[in-house]
Each structure stands twice: as C-alpha cells, then as structure tokens.
Subunit: 183 residues, 2 copies
C-alpha cells in the first residue's frame, strides 16, 4: 500500500459560496518532496433517480454555467443543514426541482465527487412510485424544465451524448447493479 | 427549453495550479435576478480502462488528498499541451502511472466532470491487449501502486465500495454499454 502524505501546511484560500478552497502542502512519502494540493471543501451532494409507476424517469433540463450548455440530469444538489440526512435532502431536491414525490426511497450507492480535488461524497438514491404532487419550486439560482424519459431509453440517451454528467452516469450504473441483485 | 443566462460580470479569482477560478455574475432568465457562479477552468481530463489479454483491468491505488483516503481507480489525468489529442494523453498516463501500454485504444465516451462547477470534460477510453512494457514513472505529485483486477470482478468491487470514484464508475458504465453493442 502507498503511505499517507503528511501535511506540513494547510491554508484557507477563501470562501466561494458553494465551496471553501483550501491549500495543503504535503510531503510525497515516495520522494520526500513537498507538493501543493488544492481542495474544495463542501457538504455532501445527493442525487436521485425518480421512477414513476409507468417506468419513466423524471429528469431536469437546465443551463449549466461550468460548460455553458444545457444538460439532462436527474434531480440533486447540496445537502442543507436542515435536511438531517441524505435521503431527506434527495426528497427535498426532488420536490423543489420537479414537483414530484416518493414514499419509497432506496439508497443505491455513494460515490466520490472528485477525490483528488474535492472532499465531498455524492449519495445516490432510487425513488420508486414517484408521483407529481405540486408545481416545481426552484430556487433563485435555478431555471429548469422537467422531462420524463422511459427508463429503457436511458442507455441510448447516454450513447447519444444527451446524458453526459459523470455523476448521473454513475447513478444509472448503480441502478443497473442494483437491478441485477433484485433478479 | 430554459433560456441561457446572460453574464453581466466575469472576474478572475486566481490560479490554483490544476485550475483557474472564475466568478460569473449572471441573470436568471426566469426571475431576472442576478446570481454568482464559480467556475473551475481546466484542460480536459482523460481516463482509460486498460484490459490485459487475460481480461484483467490494470488499476492504481493511491492516496487522494480531497477525501484523505485511498482509492482504487483507473489511470488518468489532465491532458498536457504536448499530448496533442485525448487518446495520446490517455496512453501517456497509462504508461506513466502503470508501465503498461496498448496498441488498441478505443474511445468509449466523453462525460462532463461537473457541469455546474467545472468547464472541462473527461474523455474515457478502453485500451485492449494492454501489456507491461516498463516500470511506472509517476510524477512528483504521485505515489501509487499498480493492481490488476479481473474484469468480471469490477461490478462486485463497486458494490463493495472499493471502487467509488464517480468518473471511474461512469467509465465502467460506458464499457458495459459498448460491450452490449458489440454483441
């Protein structure tokens, strides 16, 4: 096993609303040389694959500033302090972004957002028997459209580059692995 | 379709070696209110699933500063200006991190690293008939161990949380979709 790196300096580089930036100076145990690492600290994220009784996935289309393009994603976001636990955060994001709700939430898996650069995890859920209960109520940083896609079309939409958010692909892979275990 | 957001201010927040941080102030087309977005600008990333003739995946175990834990990942990294194209970058990372090489590289798919926060993409490759040709030559920011894992064990390793890097899961999902098309 490689050894852990010892951190010889750790400095705050500022707060940027959705993350806090930190610089760590650490010693490479293999070479003994010092190296700077920048880490984005933020609360864990959640995302949720909401499936309706007729096997459609409730998804959101939105404009994303990082890539300056539209994406097709599953609902998700940052866990708020008031959420209590990741499952409650997933249900809140589902309701806010889509107006849908589920009484049958399953934890699929938890992945690292970007373990070289970020300290947080993304908790991925499946919401079964998802139904529309209200109008969406997006926050002031959001403008999104709700679309429903038949579950069996998801692999084709990925291959066609219509769904290309890394963490969303990870969620659908977790769903496939989960489905195999149910058989 | 939701409308694009107009950027009314764009400010550099500094250079952090592996990314440049930018703040954009943009108007929500739905509400007309201004909102700050922070974007990490960096070159595209690559990753590669190297498969040996006896169907083992060449992986790397390393200490990751973001999560302060060990991960089990496929080789990958940032595209260097000298690489020319993503495929060359994938082969370079494969050789540097593991000492393996392949003459049969296939592009599986391209995913967004984190489209809300980052401007870059991650190009995912499959390297077939991967063979060991040299000692690994990691750079000064790396300390890693090379391990080979039978391809059919990958889903179980994901379910056991041994492989939990979001972009690595996305790569293995792309491989499954690619395999289905070959049948």
């Amino acid at each position: 096993m490689p050894k852990p790196w010892s951190v010889i300096e750790s400095v705050s580089e500022g707060d940027y609303r959705v993350f806090h930036l930190r610089r760590d100076r650490a010693l490479n145990p293999r070479t003994g040389t010092a190296h700077d690492f920048f880490v984005l600290e933020s609360p864990d994220w959640v995302n949720v694959i909401p499936v309706t009784p007729d096997r459609k996935v409730v998804m959101v289309r939105q404009y994303r500033h990082g890539i300056k393009e539209y994406t097709l994603e599953i609902p998700g976001g940052i866990i708020d302090p008031e959420d209590g636990d990741p499952g409650q955060a997933a249900l809140r994001e589902l309701r806010e972004e889509t107006g849908y709700w589920s009484e049958d939430l399953r934890h699929l898996g938890t992945v690292q957002a970007q373990p070289a650069l970020q300290n947080n995890l993304c908790h991925t859920f499946l919401a079964l028997n998802t139904v529309r209960v209200a109008e969406p109520s997006p926050d002031s940083g959001e403008d999104l459209n709700v679309v429903t896609i038949p579950l069996e079309e998801i692999p084709g939409r990925i291959r066609a580059d219509e769904i290309s958010h890394g963490l969303v692909l990870a969620a659908f892979y977790w769903l496939e692995l989960w489905n195999r275990e149910q058989r």
